[in-house]
């Protein structure tokens, strides 16, 4: 009985622990193995070396996908954070109907990325959406055709993703703003410090952990972005909006090239580790608080 009492937590956790061990780490190991083989249609298990990675890095399409990841990820994270922060600060001015506005901005997050992608595909389509509407108003030479311009199409993905995520970032920041000790702010106001200085010197620095959380959430959204691209551009025009995730999907499921898919998955995981490991390190190291 006593043994049971002591071990209940372990027993309860054991199944999920085993499941994670197999279905997450087990399959990561399996993918790593496959990435070193010559697997095509079906997995093969004879190790062949790093040939798949050589093929991967020689493929122009993979270059485009990785470039797009950095363009998309960088812009998406920065713009979402800036817009989210500004919205949060404006909403923090004790305005009327704050609850309604907050919901309005947060609402896009409730949509599936497929819906976002499809809606923006129509909005950005030169023959249906913004361009056609503005031309209909009489501005005949108005052009907004990023969606069909290979060199601009990736920015439409950024646009749709920012629209989707910035409300969520706003909510995060708003919670952060509200958690700042009001005593400090009042003291600053009493001292006659202007409002923008209060934000830049007191509030925002105390919100540093929130920035980190927002960054981590947005970064992993960016890396696993898949459905948005599929719905919005389907990787096109050509393959100009391919991301690593869509590349991997194409190789694994349309081309019967499992080895390529596995090697691209390993590279993606490397990118995620590069972001997450420093975060985990900073979170998990023992704090030397006094």
């Amino acid at each position: 009985m006593e043994w049971l009492e002591r071990n209940v937590p372990k027993l309860v956790l054991a199944p999920s622990f085993v499941a994670i061990l197999i279905f997450v780490y087990g399959f990561i190991a399996w993918t790593a193995w496959i990435s070193l083989t010559k697997s095509r249609l079906m997995p093969k298990y004879e190790i062949d070396g790093f040939g798949q990675f050589e093929r991967l890095f020689a493929a122009p399409r993979w270059d485009v996908a990785m470039n797009n990841l950095f363009i998309f990820g960088g812009l998406f994270i920065v713009i979402s954070m800036v817009i989210g922060l500004l919205l949060a600060i404006f909403l923090d001015q004790k305005i009327r109907a704050e609850g309604v506005l907050r919901t309005v901005y947060l609402y896009p997050m409730a949509l599936s990325l497929i819906v976002t992608g499809t809606a923006w595909k129509w909005i950005l389509n030169p023959g249906l959406g913004i361009q056609e509407t503005v031309r209909g108003w009489g501005f005949e030479s108005f052009t907004f055709d990023w969606l069909i311009k290979p060199e601009m199409a990736i920015y439409t993905v950024v646009l749709a993703a920012v629209w989707q995520a910035s409300g969520f970032v706003m909510a995060l920041f708003l919670a952060g703003l509200r958690s700042v000790d009001t005593e400090i702010i009042r003291a600053a106001q009493v001292d006659g410090i202007p409002n923008h200085r209060i934000y830049s010197a007191i509030i925002i620095p105390t919100m540093a952990p929130i920035f980190l959380s927002a960054f981590i959430v947005l970064a992993h959204l960016a890396i696993k972005a898949f459905d948005l691209v599929i719905a919005l551009t389907n990787g096109g025009p050509g393959y100009s909006t391919d991301l690593p995730a869509t590349y991997m999907y194409a190789m694994a499921f349309s081309r019967g090239d499992l080895g390529q898919a596995a090697s691209s998955a390993m590279v993606m995981m490397g990118v995620i580790f590069a972001i997450v490991v420093p975060y985990l390190y900073s979170e998990l190291r023992p704090r030397r608080d006094h």
Partner: protein, 411 residues
């Protein structure tokens, strides 16, 4: 739950005792006309005393079905029959082995009624392992009769004529070519251009044998030049457009031509349009016939009932009766050359006539864009280059170089 269990046990117990033919059929014919077509087969299979277990997997032009197939094969429980086509049949044969249906083929004399090129796709190391259902011609050009008459344009027989007609239409404010910016549609136009400009022999060298010299040749550069010209003939909104929407543009007079396989005909016919009066079909400029053949392959299965099912299914698929009904529904032509075509439309009759003639002089060729000529990896690598070139301002010299590199990298 209990009754389901009981029922399935009953089936499992009853089946071997009566040894009635069983078939579990994995396919991705789920859209209107296709579902109707496959229902015909199902009916005939039932009428011969077989039990048909339908396993339709929709989505992704067969990608989803192939994923399901992989899962089943990995689990050691392959379906009895699977919709597979082109070199994928041989690829699967090498991976897992396929059932030999030579006995059925011999008995029914398949070799005498199939064009040799198409029969070759149905064999694994010389043994019959798949049964063809239909032949789609890929290199068709469709035209809106009214627009063409209005501007005094004949269906083009060379690419120069096509360009001239397109210029004329464009000057008159008509979109010359309805096209959807999806990579497989770009590839479909590309292979028609390669065939038209290079001829059947060049097509064979470049897109079937992947000869590096042919891939970087001047002819290939010309093909890319023509693609660049064609890029100027499509409207601004083509990105991501589905092929049937492009067909609708021709139907509604918003565009003059479309280059697409004969599944486009199904769209015209479904909308009540008549070949010859509302729309015209013609082979794309140049010589040759690019085919896309749907077929069923049979995996190795245990149990007499399942093997009987495979034999029965193979026999029915190649039966003249099924080939006729199915293809009337689907818009393609029978793979068998001895089926009477009285009920088929003019486009199908021309397709059949060309197929027989081209089979004789060696210009009956597999479509690369539809997975008949090459395996997944090299075909995909070529499509990447074609679509990247079509959707950017890449020069033809760079394109042929990339083409050669991509093909080498995919092997």
């Amino acid at each position: 739950m209990k009754s389901v269990l009981a029922a399935s046990t009953a089936v499992m117990l009853a089946a071997p005792a009566m040894a009635e033919p069983q078939a579990e059929v994995l396919h991705w014919w789920t859209s209107g006309g296709e579902a109707k077509s496959v229902a015909v087969l199902q009916e005939q299979f039932g009428a011969e005393g077989g039990t048909w277990t339908d396993m339709p997997v929709a989505g992704g032009g067969g990608d989803a079905a192939m994923t399901a197939l992989r899962a089943r094969v990995l689990a050691g429980n392959a379906p009895t029959a699977v919709q597979l086509k082109g070199p994928a049949i041989q690829e699967w044969y090498e991976e897992t082995g396929l059932a030999d249906i030579g006995a059925v083929a011999e008995e029914n004399g398949w070799a005498d009624v199939l064009p040799e090129q198409i029969a070759e796709h149905m064999k694994c190391e010389g043994e019959w392992c798949a049964a063809p259902v239909n032949v789609h011609r890929v290199n068709w050009i469709w035209g809106n009769k009214q627009i063409l008459d209005e501007h005094g344009i004949e269906m083009p027989t060379t690419w120069d004529e096509f360009n001239a007609a397109a210029e004329k239409l464009q000057a008159a404010g008509v979109t010359p070519l309805a096209h959807g910016g999806q990579s497989w549609q770009d590839a479909t136009v590309f292979e028609a251009v390669v065939l038209g400009l290079g001829g059947p022999e060049f097509f064979q060298q470049a897109l079937v044998d992947l000869d590096p010299e042919a891939l970087t040749s001047d002819t290939m550069k010309q093909a890319f030049d023509e693609m660049r010209t064609i890029r100027g003939y499509v409207d601004d909104n083509f990105s991501g457009r589905d092929w049937n929407l492009a067909t609708a543009m021709v139907m509604n007079g918003e565009a003059a031509f479309q280059i697409m396989g004969d599944w486009a005909k199904g769209e015209f016919l479904a909308a009540g349009k008549e070949p010859g009066t509302d729309f015209v079909c013609a082979p794309t400029p140049g010589e040759g016939f690019l085919y896309n053949v749907d077929s069923f392959a049979f995996f190795e299965v245990d149990g007499q009932d399942k093997q009987d099912g495979q034999a029965l299914l193979a026999k029915l698929i190649m039966g003249p009766d099924f080939q006729k009904t199915f293809n009337l529904n689907k818009g393609s032509i029978p793979a068998r050359t001895d089926v009477a075509l009285d009920e088929f439309d003019d486009c199908a009759m021309q397709s059949n006539k060309d197929m027989n003639e081209d089979a004789a002089d060696g210009s009956l060729l597999p479509s690369y864009a539809h997975g008949m000529a090459l395996r997944g990896a090299p075909a995909g690598a070529i499509t990447d280059v074609v679509t990247a070139h079509f959707n950017s301002d890449m020069s033809s010299e760079d394109a042929v170089q990339q083409l050669a590199d991509a093909v080498a990298n995919a092997m």
